[in-house]
């Protein structure tokens, strides 16, 4: 393990995570398709997970990895619920363009 981290360097992990996170943010902001938005959110989540694991190794502390397990379990549940919502939106509106979801307006 030491080798991997030493060979690549912690800073590269951080750069990768930040890039992934930014990709996710821009995906959420710019895409109209609900599924793409959804995937972008997953990318952001995984960017954070990656950072957790990297720092866990760096500090020699397994707590970070345990946390990632929790976060992945929650993400799985979230995906299940989210996809169900997207399916039901598609059934109701015939499209999953988020601009069509203005009915949520108060």
């Amino acid at each position: 393990m030491d080798n991997v981290l030493n060979q690549i360097g912690i800073e590269n992990y951080i750069f990768l995570s930040v890039i992934l996170f930014c990709i996710g943010v821009f995906g959420v902001l710019y895409r109209r398709n609900a599924i793409i938005v959804f995937m972008s959110i997953e990318i952001m989540l995984n960017a954070v997970n990656l950072l957790f694991v990297a720092f866990s190794t760096y500090h020699q502390d397994p707590q970070g990895q345990i946390f990632v397990f929790f976060s992945m379990a929650v993400a799985a549940a979230e995906v299940a619920v989210g996809l169900a919502i997207v399916v039901s939106i598609f059934r109701n509106l015939g499209s999953i363009d988020i601009d069509n979801l203005k009915n949520l307006k108060g």
């Binding site: 959420v28 902001l29 979801l101 307006k105 108060g106």
Partner: protein
């Protein structure tokens, strides 16, 4: 046993009130009338039992129902006191009350709201009984306020006429001014003696431990202001003549015989306070006597020229009440009480008689349109004649004895007050016989149609008249000079032995002679003016000179309007136009700002998810920037 009987006495009229309020309409007019009358008769019978009892053994009955208020040593019982004074008052409140209820059954029979009338009347009797029976000032105050309320309700009984409503409001407001005085007096007494119980107050005052003479006199003065309001004395008397807007039985019961004597009752009840031998109290007593005498004179002069039969009697009542206050101010409490009783007899009779006349003429109250009723209404005529002779002070009717006693007391203390009182008495004789001559003598001056319908009133109306006329004739027997049952009966009430009934020396005979001669002069003058010269008072527009001032009641109402009503109106208009506008401007402004903010903020919630997400991300970035960079 006594407690139960006393509760029956108190609550019987209240029960009548409840029945008439809730079931009166469905029970029908006659039944509701007889329930109203019956409950008061029950009270009268119970009063009679108590009265005979106390007349024999002279022991007052004190009843305490429960602790009402108990704060830090200051305690007020909800209790009743049946002593000589309260039982005497109850006798004529329930007795005359029952007669007037009986009278009302016939008098009000054509009114659609008869059950309401009896409900109010019963409620009045209930409150009057609690006023008289209260064992402390606070229970008395409940009754005091209650009778004021009933007076208001009954003056405005024919509520469809706006003038009557105004009269009712006037009576209520005038009474409230007096009630404020009464309350202040009660507060001062409570502070000084930390008790409101009559018996304890008496002990505390007679022991002479409290030497705060200024405050004691201030309390007495404040209480007297309360009495002024209720008993229609200057400067609060103007409501009573207007109160004649109510049905005539109301005028007889409330505004002649019972409620307006509450002020005299209260002062007599507190005779130990008003009779204190301290300088400040002498000043208060002088004020009372002077106000009484001036009221007697002023009201009598106004009564000289009134043409409304009930207005004449109303000013006569104010004038007689003034004489009673004159007696109170001079410390002759038993004399004032004596006059209250005889006045209740003959004034109730006069009012009921005038009601009988008004009834026969279908609501006509103007004496210029009456006349010649002697033949058509013999019973009404004879009973009213007896009462008029009594109020004028003709020997040996009731008014002669009581009025004479007041004048004798005045003569002993102060010749000026005596002369004022005598002039008022002469005027009384004049205007009463002016009323009699205009109403019953000569020819009828009304319309032909009224003339055909002239008739004597039914027995339910004439019976109370006859009873009251008999009482007005012989009522003086309860306190004859030299052998006064009343003075002996009331003696336990007074701190010092009540003044012995006046012996019959030469001076007394002379005073009686003068009073009698004065009354005859008044009657004679009325006779020459209205019978011999056959005068009839002019139309309103033709009245000139001083009699115009009198006819318009010295313009007191106008003066009050100018001095009090107008400024209050100006003030309230100022508050409405400026203060309220400013305050509501601020309040509405705040509401407007909030509303506008909300309206603009609403636009943020446009439902565009992309926009939401952008704001969300932007917010997170801003927070992160703040946390990591700004710190």
């Amino acid at each position: 046993m006594d407690t139960n009987l006393a509760l029956v006495l108190l609550l019987a009229p209240f029960l009548g009130f409840l029945i008439n309020v809730f079931f009166g309409k469905s029970l029908g007019k006659s039944v509701s009338g007889f329930i109203g009358t019956g409950t008061v008769v029950v009270s009268f019978v119970v009063t009679l039992v108590f009265f005979l009892q106390i007349n024999q053994n002279g022991k007052p009955i004190q009843i305490s129902l429960f602790d009402w208020i108990s704060i830090n040593g200051f305690k007020v019982d909800f209790g009743f006191l049946l002593d000589q004074l309260s039982l005497l008052w109850l006798m004529f409140v329930t007795g005359i009350g029952a007669l007037i209820h009986l009278y009302s059954i016939s008098y009000m029979h054509d009114d659609e709201n008869m059950h309401k009338f009896f409900a109010y009347l019963n409620l009045f009797v209930f409150f009057m009984i609690s006023l008289v029976m209260g064992s402390n000032l606070l229970v008395m105050f409940i009754g005091w306020e209650g009778v004021g309320l009933c007076s208001y309700l009954l003056i405005g009984f024919w509520y469809k006429n706006q003038d009557y409503n105004d009269a009712a409001k006037k009576a209520f407001i005038m009474n409230r001014i007096g009630d404020l005085g009464l309350l202040i007096g009660i507060f001062i007494l409570a502070t000084l003696f930390s008790t409101l119980d009559f018996a304890q107050l008496k002990t505390a005052i007679l022991s002479g431990t409290n030497t705060n003479t200024c405050w004691i006199a201030a309390a007495a003065l404040a209480l007297f202001i309360g009495a002024c309001g209720k008993s229609a004395q200057i400067p609060l008397y103007t409501w009573l003549p207007d109160a004649m807007a109510g049905p005539t039985p109301v005028s007889a019961l409330i505004h002649a015989a019972t409620m307006v004597t509450a002020g005299i009752f209260m002062i007599t009840r507190l005779n130990f306070l008003f009779g204190m031998d301290i300088d400040t109290m002498h000043v208060v007593n002088t004020i009372i006597a002077v106000i009484g005498a001036v009221t007697a004179l002023v009201a009598a002069t106004i009564g000289l020229v009134q043409n409304d039969i009930k207005k004449v009697l109303a000013y006569s009542t104010v004038s007689q009440l003034g004489l009673m206050f004159l007696a109170l101010g001079l410390g002759a409490y038993e004399v004032a009480v004596f006059h209250v009783i005889t006045h209740a007899f003959f004034k109730a009779c006069l009012f009921l008689g005038s009601g009988s006349v008004i009834h026969a003429l279908h609501g006509e109250q103007d004496m210029r349109k009456m006349g010649g009723l002697k033949k058509a209404m013999p019973v009404t005529f004879i009973t009213m004649l007896i009462s008029s002779l009594a109020i004028s002070g003709i020997f040996p009717l009731a008014g002669f004895w009581s009025k004479d006693e007041i004048l004798m007391v005045a003569y002993e203390h102060n010749k000026v007050l005596y002369i004022i009182g005598s002039i008022a008495s002469i005027m009384t004789a004049f205007y009463m016989f002016r009323l009699m001559y205009l109403t019953f003598f000569k020819d009828f001056r009304g319309t032909e149609e009224q003339k055909h319908h002239l008739h004597e009133s039914p027995a339910l109306i004439t019976f109370p008249l006859i009873v009251l006329a008999i009482l007005a004739a012989i009522g003086g027997a309860i306190s004859l000079p030299g052998n006064s049952w009343l003075n002996n009966y009331l003696a336990p009430l007074f701190a010092e032995k009540a003044g012995e009934a006046h012996g019959l020396g030469g001076e007394q005979y002379m005073l009686m002679g003068i009073a009698m001669a004065g009354a005859l002069i008044g009657i004679g003058y009325a006779y020459s003016k209205y019978i011999k010269q056959n005068q009839i008072p002019e139309e309103d527009s033709e009245i000139t000179g001083f009699s115009k001032v009198l006819y318009n009641k010295y313009y007191v109402d106008e003066a009050y309007e100018f001095l009090f009503v107008k400024p209050v109106n100006v003030l309230s208009r100022f508050f409405r136009d400026y203060v309220e506008t400013a305050v509501s401007g601020v309040v509405f402004g705040l509401a407007k700002v909030t509303g506008e903010l909300g309206y603009q903020g609403k636009k943020l919630q446009n439902g565009n998810i992309g926009f939401y997400l952008f704001v969300f991300v932007f917010g997170v970035c801003a927070m992160i920037t703040y946390i990591f960079l700004a710190k």
